[in-house]
């Protein structure tokens, strides 16, 4: 390695965990060999509302190899139910404030009512089918139509973080003075995350100490949640999760199975592995709720918005006021004097919905950006031009300037790459054989949410010049292990191949759960602090070491390259400094404290989405032929992994637009298609090539390295761009997700 290090950040470095992943040697949480492991299989409720009147476990218990059957009758009570607070807060973060099997009540179909533990997976699975349950069933409420007459406006949603109503100006007056009005009701099917790795926890007790291998976006969140639920001191719980097979939000909060695995292991006196089945993944880890949004906007003839009214209706559970915050961004990204956003909820027989990729923005921007397209059409104005006309360089809700934007560049460069210029705006005018061709675009934006408390990392340099940098965060596909290796190498002044990032263990320095695209920003801040702290420590040591060629130099004049400290012509290597002083290693902790209190800036990531579709004129089939996304995510830590995440997000937008739906049977209150054969996600044949343009913008506000994150914004606006393209192709404005063949026949 001869190249210099200062530019390690940003390089399209291969993933550091590429080799273990392609060889099958990466061990995910269900794959850690733990001797004598027993297997737990969960039994879910068949009914959606009512009570368990009897539960006969004798047949199951009598099966060979069955070690225990837990039900509400013998499962120990939890010590305490912690409140629902998003895991970014760095506190306990249960997915809902209801813990199953504490009494005989059934709130939703699939709710855990028994756990069978046996010596093999097959025996547990078989015995689970022998558990006989009798119910007293009441009529469930699950769908919008069943709930819309009994709604309320919550004071706060989203774990208490977001108000149920926001407004500014006078919407009625704003709509009255508009020359043009656009008004539409948008409906959305429920969506499920469906990472390919199902949720899993392996629990192992050593005396009164608990070790969990957990699939989670935050090992610390698991540790804190299980600690509260079981009444166990934090110091007695260790949680590990190095590799996580995707999450998309369903492993962002800590759901009941993690604590259930621990309780099961205590019951049988053996380690227990609890893996959810694919079907259980639809009823045990949250989902994006079914919803309806009503959006009204008014504008002047020259395309200036005068008012936006954005209302949302959705079901929540009997215990939490949850809605994904679909309304936030429509209040912020366009200059518009009058705004009103309201959430309406009704109680339903569902588990509490949860974060799902771009939670709120993906659905809210569909309503907003389809409405903007319709407005452009009404005004005879180019859709990009309409958005530029309503551009704001302050957050329209708070009035605070953006910490950085890049939105205009996203429109311009995205449009250029896509070939938007010269588009004939008339719908239904382009045809290739049987296919109607259309193009559409939409804005993308996603808020930058800093964590609530200090984030920590640790850096250690050995006397041989290699380094280990540590933080608790798991890597669930974001590439965090790779980019943090780069951040650490640059901070320390060593080459990336000398640096190893160690992660996914609560014994390492605490990091809040990597959610809401906040992971890269906060972890890089902590890693940067640790690595540069260690560098400064070593430099200080050198300039005060009489035997160092750098002795007496001013620390500010010292630069480090490839592990060599340089001041003018004098050099001293880290290795020589440490070896000379009989020091086996040197270590530093780093901490980043996010800005506390009010930041006088609006913090948002921006982008622009473009899509081309072909719609079969007779069959109503929609094919997305190409997609272009331009995004301004602040500083890009690794262009390759960033592009991959953005590509994935855009294809999620495709799935949201055309495929993804779980349907509810309103009579039984059960989901109809809880499997990957019938819950459609994009497969290879659905996915066109995707063009991602990265626009780097400097941001000195959000965090030390100016990183705004790429996990979610790829999806935001993509469904709207596709729906707008469908309109352009066919003249049909579909206000429903997913758009299916029936909508276009």
């Amino acid at each position: 390695m001869t190249t210099t290090t200062p530019s390690a950040i940003g390089q399209p470095l291969d993933r550091v965990d590429g080799r273990p992943k392609v060889t099958g040697h990466a061990r995910y949480s269900a794959e850690i060999p733990v001797p004598d492991t027993a297997y737990a299989y969960v039994v879910g409720s068949r009914i959606a509302a009512g009570r368990v009147t009897d539960i006969d476990v004798s047949a199951a218990r009598a099966e060979e190899g069955v070690l225990a059957v837990l039900t509400h009758r013998n499962l120990p009570r939890i010590a305490e139910q912690p409140p629902l607070i998003p895991s970014l807060a760095g506190t306990a973060a249960p997915g809902q404030t209801f813990f199953p099997m504490q009494d005989d009540t059934v709130h939703y179909a699939g709710q855990q009512i028994a756990v069978v533990i046996a010596d093999t997976w097959e025996r547990a699975q078989h015995a689970a089918r022998l558990v006989r349950v009798s119910y007293a069933e009441s009529t469930p409420v699950t769908t919008l139509d069943q709930g819309r007459d009994d709604t309320y406006v919550p004071e706060k949603i989203f774990g208490g973080w977001i108000p149920g109503r926001i407004e500014r100006g006078d919407v009625a007056a704003g709509l009255a003075e508009a020359d043009v009005l656009v008004d539409g009701t948008f409906t959305y099917a429920a969506n499920n995350h469906n990472p390919i790795e199902p949720a899993c926890t392996t629990a192992q007790w050593e005396g009164d100490e608990l070790l969990l291998y957990d699939t989670t976006q935050g090992v610390n969140a698991t540790q804190m949640t299980v600690s509260r639920l079981l009444g166990l001191p934090m110091s007695k719980i260790r949680v590990m999760g190095h590799y996580v097979g995707g999450s998309f939000g369903c492993k962002a909060m800590i759901h009941a199975h993690s604590a259930l695995a621990a309780m099961a292991a205590r019951e049988v006196g053996r380690p227990v592995k609890l893996v959810l089945t694919r079907e259980q993944m639809f009823t045990s880890v949250g989902h994006r709720e079914e919803q309806e949004q009503h959006l009204t906007m008014g504008a002047t003839r020259d395309g200036r918005l005068t008012a936006i009214r954005h209302h949302k209706l959705s079901p929540t559970s009997h215990f939490d006021d949850w809605a994904e915050p679909s309304i936030g961004v429509s209040s912020e990204i366009y200059a518009c004097p009058n705004y009103e956003g309201v959430y309406r909820l009704f109680r339903a027989n569902t588990m509490t919905p949860t974060f799902m990729r771009a939670p709120g923005e993906a659905s809210g921007m569909y309503a907003l950006e389809c409405s903007m397209d319709e407005l452009a059409h009404e005004l005879g104005m180019d859709p990009v031009e309409l958005r530029l006309r309503n551009y704001t360089d302050v957050d329209a809700m708070s009035g605070r300037p953006w910490s950085s934007s890049g939105q205009r560049e996203c429109y311009e460069r995205g449009a250029r790459r896509f070939g938007w210029a010269g588009r004939d705006p008339r719908p239904g005018t382009r045809r290739e054989g049987n296919w109607l061709i259309g193009t559409g675009m939409a804005a993308a934006c996603y808020p930058v949410a800093p964590p609530a408390n200090p984030q920590r990392a640790r850096a250690r340099l050995y006397a041989d010049g290699t380094a280990v940098v540590q933080a608790a965060t798991p890597d669930f596909g974001t590439g965090v292990a790779t980019v943090m290796t780069q951040v650490a190498a640059e901070g320390l002044g060593v080459s990336v191949d000398r640096c190893r990032f160690e992660n996914g263990d609560t014994d390492l320095p605490n990091i809040a759960a990597a959610v809401g695209s906040a992971g890269a920003g906060m972890i890089s801040a902590a890693v940067h602090a640790a690595a540069t702290g260690l560098r400064e420590q070593l430099i200080k040591r050198a300039v005060t070491d009489p035997r160092s060629p750098l002795h007496g130099a001013d620390t500010v004049d010292v630069v480090v390259r490839d592990g060599v400290m340089i001041a003018g012509t004098a050099t001293d290597a880290y290795t020589e400094l440490l070896q000379r002083n009989f020091q086996p290693d040197a270590e530093a902790s780093g901490q980043w404290s996010p800005p506390s209190g009010d930041v006088p800036y609006g913090m948002m990531t921006f982008g622009a989405q473009f899509a081309e579709v072909a719609v079969d004129a007779e069959l109503g089939l929609v094919r997305v032929r190409r997609m272009t996304g331009a995004f301004a995510p602040g500083r890009v830590l690794n262009a390759r992994t960033a592009r991959s995440q953005l590509t994935g997000g855009m294809l999620w937008g495709l799935g949201q637009a055309l495929l993804e739906a779980n349907y509810m049977n309103p009579d039984t209150g059960r989901w109809v298609n809880s499997n990957l054969g019938e819950y459609l996600v994009a497969v290879n044949a659905d996915a066109p090539d995707v063009d991602v343009e990265l626009i780097e913008v400097e941001d000195s506000i959000v965090n030390p390295l100016g990183v705004k994150g790429v996990g979610e914004i790829g999806q935001v606006g993509a469904a709207a761009a596709i729906a707008n393209a469908v309109h352009h192709a066919t003249g049909r404005r579909v206000r429903k997700l997913p758009i299916t063949i029936e909508d276009l026949l």
């Binding site: 995910y28 994935g648 054969g677 290879n684």
Partner: protein, 174 residues
């Protein structure tokens, strides 16, 4: 059709003597012989993952819908979750761990790294086993063909364009 009936009946008699309790099953995986005492209902996937500690093949659904468990039996790609382990006796099972020699990488594995054809990596062993077989099957002629014949392997991280790029790279090198 008629050829299958008698063949099944003949083997049926042999199978009846075995099970439903644990039976001795000999499996050859990646060139190594293993002897297992397992119930006949144990899938090839669970035999690999839970008994042989070969966790490269993943369990994404256990229902034949995701492709994460794709391995080869006698060189053909199969879904290990829908295959009973004992039906693989006398056959050669290949998993991602056996694709290349110890410490080496198959060119498809190298291409997956080079093209960043994965994120979380959970679908990846299945994608790679499918991808290598795909080229051998002659189903990688163009992108449309690759798309179709790789659609049994879901990648929820949606690395599809990069997976195609990796397959193209290996195909064009051949």
């Amino acid at each position: 059709m008629s050829a299958r009936g008698p063949a099944l009946t003949e083997r049926g008699a042999a199978l009846e003597e075995r099970g439903p309790g644990p039976v001795r099953v000999r499996l050859s995986v990646n060139g190594t012989e293993h002897t297992l005492d397992i119930e006949p209902r144990v899938s090839l996937l669970d035999a690999l993952r839970e008994r042989l500690d070969l966790t490269g093949a993943k369990k994404g659904c256990d229902q034949g819908t995701c492709g994460a468990c794709t391995v080869w039996v006698d060189g053909r790609r199969v879904l290990a979750c829908l295959t009973l382990a004992m039906t693989c006796e006398g056959r050669e099972v290949t998993t991602v761990e056996g694709l290349a020699g110890e410490g080496e990488l198959h060119e498809m594995q190298r291409a997956f790294i080079a093209e960043d054809a994965f994120q979380c990596g959970f679908c990846t062993p299945g994608q790679i086993m499918s991808a290598v077989a795909l080229i051998e099957e002659g189903h990688a002629g163009n992108d449309a063909e690759i798309k179709e014949w790789m659609s049994g392997n879901i990648c929820r991280c949606a690395a599809y364009p990069h997976i195609r790029a990796a397959i193209r790279a290996v195909r064009d090198r051949a």
